[in-house]
Symmetry: C2
Subunit: 313 residues, 2 copies
């Protein structure tokens, strides 16, 4: 198979041996695989794939057809359209994953959307509901509203009856973010728009004092990204006074059982909303696998709304 | 009635008008009222009573007999032994509270124990179970293990099947803390004793980096006191990597409905363990109301295990 490979901090496309599915595993012919911030970190050497996953083939999400079943695999049949969050190796023509990590692709969802769905919707759903326990009618602040996780979180918040505000640095993108259902605001001075019951933090430490200021009593901050810095001051007295909590999480390091639970939750609580058109995966651009380096450059350049997705086969 | 009163930052005992119970309220002849760290803060001017409570009569917990019922009060009868966390005003001969904030005093519990029970057991139970969701078999670290909340938390942790470690600065008190069911350790270098699933933090910001180091994957830190400082650095990347969370809380500011819910939980989950002897309230010393100033001094001096309790009538 052809695969994107990280070699000396650069991306190339190489021929690799086809992977073989083991017990309860699926071999998937990958049709589409989204690019995520974590891929950029991995390319920079800072975010290795967990053990048991391809170490030099990047890619944490994929969509494709089941090409072969490993022994005892029974959840899907050959030819079924599946998608998943994986620990690595998605940006290749073929990938292997456990059947309990896979989800069916909702009817009507095309390959680019399906390949760009898992990571951001898993992450947003987990942060908002499994961690922060967002409830109908609550006020949600989504930082980085034009980003992948941001657009997913805005839509999930709206679909649940929350009132959503999103920070968007690029003024030109604010109207598109507003169309997703959020009040789109300038990140500067965001703390004056509170109080918020839940804050989804992707920017990092510089936002934390403002988040705490803008938090409602019994509010929750879910930290899932720290692009702008990870060390900051925490005022414990303010945290106590608001009876608030701060969650930190990542998806990648989770063991099979936790990823499988997250998959079942997304299947049940999120995928039906794609079938009825409530949710969508904004896709900014697609690139063929052979242009993976250009695709990463486009991702890093920013200024887009929606996912950059590799069409891998 | 006689009441402890804060006047110009000092404690005196004065004659005050008897309070009158309103709808669904109880007039309680206070027999015992524990002293807590928050009282010291209030004496220093920093922690006012919430609206609707006596502003200058301190005391956040009490035990006594129902002396009179307000209109529509029906949960208790005159003469019943009750105890409660209140917003203020406990350190007096009489106090008024809503009947849904009151709990029956367990059979066999004497007045000093009953008067020193509510605040620390409410706080510890809320932090460990309602917030940090401590589970059987988990490892719990209790900071300030010789303090009021510490001794309550150690016992609750043990009674739930958790394995408990407690930091105790005063070496002489460690054997007594060990008897409560904890491994009692020196606070210096506590982070080498992890990983802990739950950390109960009463010391404050200086402990937070060590808490995060000593935390297990998916661990929880419950911050309920910041005596040694409230501003500290938080490493968000470490928080994310451990998929951990930090809770902050206080009991005093909570509205009636939240205090009532906490009372029902303690009634159901904690009080039966006093009746069967699993739990106890260590009482270090008692003072008559007239010696309230000396009692506060004793509390502040430290070096004790267990509560300082005023015997108010």
């Amino acid at each position: 198979m052809r695969a994107a490979v990280i070699a000396d901090g650069k991306l190339v496309v190489e021929e690799r041996e086809d992977p073989v599915p083991g017990s309860h595993e699926l071999l998937v012919r990958v049709r589409a695989a989204g690019i995520n911030g974590a891929d950029i970190h991995q390319l920079g050497g800072g975010y290795p794939a967990p053990p048991g996953w391809p170490q030099d083939i990047p890619g944490m999400e994929l969509a494709g057809e089941v090409a072969a079943l490993g022994p005892k695999a029974e959840r899907f049949a050959e030819g079924d359209r599946v998608m998943a969050v994986v620990g690595g190796g998605a940006q290749a023509e073929l990938a292997v994953l456990h059947e309990r990590e896979a989800m069916p692709v909702p009817e009507g969802l095309d390959w680019p959307q399906a390949g760009g769905l898992p990571e951001v919707f898993f992450t947003a759903h987990d942060a908002l509901f499994s961690q922060a326990q967002l409830r109908p009618g609550e006020r949600l602040l989504v930082h980085g509203g034009a980003g992948g996780v941001g657009t997913a979180a805005i839509q999930l918040g709206r679909a649940t009856g929350a009132r959503v505000t999103a920070t968007v640095r690029n003024e030109d993108l604010r109207p598109q973010v507003a169309k997703l259902g959020a009040e789109a605001i300038d990140p500067d001075g965001f703390e004056e728009h509170g109080p918020f019951d839940v804050v989804l933090e992707v920017v990092g430490a510089p936002n934390m004092p403002g988040n705490l200021t803008a938090l409602a009593t019994r509010g929750r901050i879910a930290v899932i990204g720290v692009g702008a810095g990870f060390k900051g001051e925490l005022n414990l007295l303010a945290l106590m006074g608001k009876r608030a909590r701060i969650h930190g999480s990542t998806m990648r390091a989770r063991p099979l059982e936790e990823k499988a639970i997250a998959s079942r939750l997304v299947e049940k609580e999120v995928l039906p909303l794609f079938e009825d058109g409530t949710l969508q995966v904004p896709v900014a651009e697609t690139y063929p696998l052979e242009q993976v380096a250009a695709a990463y450059e486009r991702f890093t350049a920013g200024g887009k709304l929606g996912k950059i997705v590799l069409l891998t086969s």
